[in-house]
Symmetry: none
Subunit: 217 residues, 2 copies
Amino acid sequence: MNDVAATGISVLLVDDHPIVRQGYRRVLESQGDLHVVAEADNAADAYGAFKAHDPDVVVLDISMPGASGLEAIRNIRARSPRARILVFTMHNEAVLVKAAFSAGASGFVTKSSEPSAVVNAIRSVARGERAMSDDIAHILAEDSLSPTGSVLDQLGEREIEILRQFAGGATTEEIATHLNLSVKTVQNYHYLIKTKTGARTDAQLVRLAATCGLTRI
Amino acid sequence: MNDVAATGISVLLVDDHPIVRQGYRRVLESQGDLHVVAEADNAADAYGAFKAHDPDVVVLDISMPGASGLEAIRNIRARSPRARILVFTMHNEAVLVKAAFSAGASGFVTKSSEPSAVVNAIRSVARGERAMSDDIAHILAEDSLSPTGSVLDQLGEREIEILRQFAGGATTEEIATHLNLSVKTVQNYHYLIKTKTGARTDAQLVRLAATCGLTRI
DNA sequence: ATCCGGCTTGGGAAATTTGCCCGAGCTGCA
DNA sequence: TGCAGCTCGGGCAAATTTCCCAAGCCGGAT
């Protein structure tokens, strides 16, 4: 491996919003040492782009249609354990953060962070360090202290993803398509989530998701 | 800068993610005719910034924490009816689009749009035209409904009451009992409300009720 | 090595709800 | 008088939800 510090840091941007990618690209490139060598707008393309360009850092938003972003992380890491992945998203739920790290992410930064925090996180991750924004650290700290787990802790990763999409207004079929599952499976998850959380109504489910920060209203 | 009209279009950016604002700013300013004169990261500051800078166009994401973005639109328009507001968000639910337009927005563009579509929308809005991205036009076309009013204006007294209880988490039977109606009638109202508002999902209904202040979450 | 438990994925079948059509009573209004 | 709109519910096919079950997989415990 050559010296990253001398040549700069190559970045693969993964986000489903074209304009957002454009913006990030400009912000990162204005730093001088960061170079966006490729972009992808979905989890499926992310690994292809990674393979083709072998970037130092992958910056990706985990809230994408198609396969879950967590899926993408595992995907990339399974084939390239050296990969450095920085999750960059608007979500800040403790369960999500933990899921991302255990999936193999090297860092987790929210979009509420200052641009400087984001670029510093990219540099940290490129050096092989772990990185997270202050708000994430705070949330993880609180979480580790609280004896009463959030309701979401009872839910598996898939369940959380489905709950998020459901609360966001997606139909069962849309979720099935996004996640490449059968409608039947999504229906079963829907039911499972309700029983696990104790919600007796779809509306209660949405409120629950909202109060847990899974969705914004 | 003497004549704004001759020198380009001044823009106020409202989005709660600093990095995202940075990115938009760079994308817009690279166009030459667009100038970001101010930014705000919440609905409350948006009007202050508007008053201070009198921009030609306000570009804002309605999915912000704190006060609803719709609130912000109404706020600005109430005091400055000339204001041109372009909603720029990742959401693409028909109910939200209609709510935004009836709140006084001049345009609605999703973040899935190409950057060129976004800047063109800004130019259109600056000229006083209405603008929306193709996906939004498609969604509204499908929706193909009555000329607007606030979404709640289409609903009768009973419908609103039932929507409130439903969004609050009540079961169909519970609502029927509370209001002394047959379950069948409540079911019919449920259906009616969905078709009238264009909500395709119970979750969308809850979100709608929440954004209209019918229920708190 | 083996077993256990949990996650994920779906089948099946009964129960319930939805989607959409309908009619009827009531009110206000032209 | 008549129309229009809200309120209330029946009917019925289609879809969804509700439960229960099974199989594969994986990680941890024995």
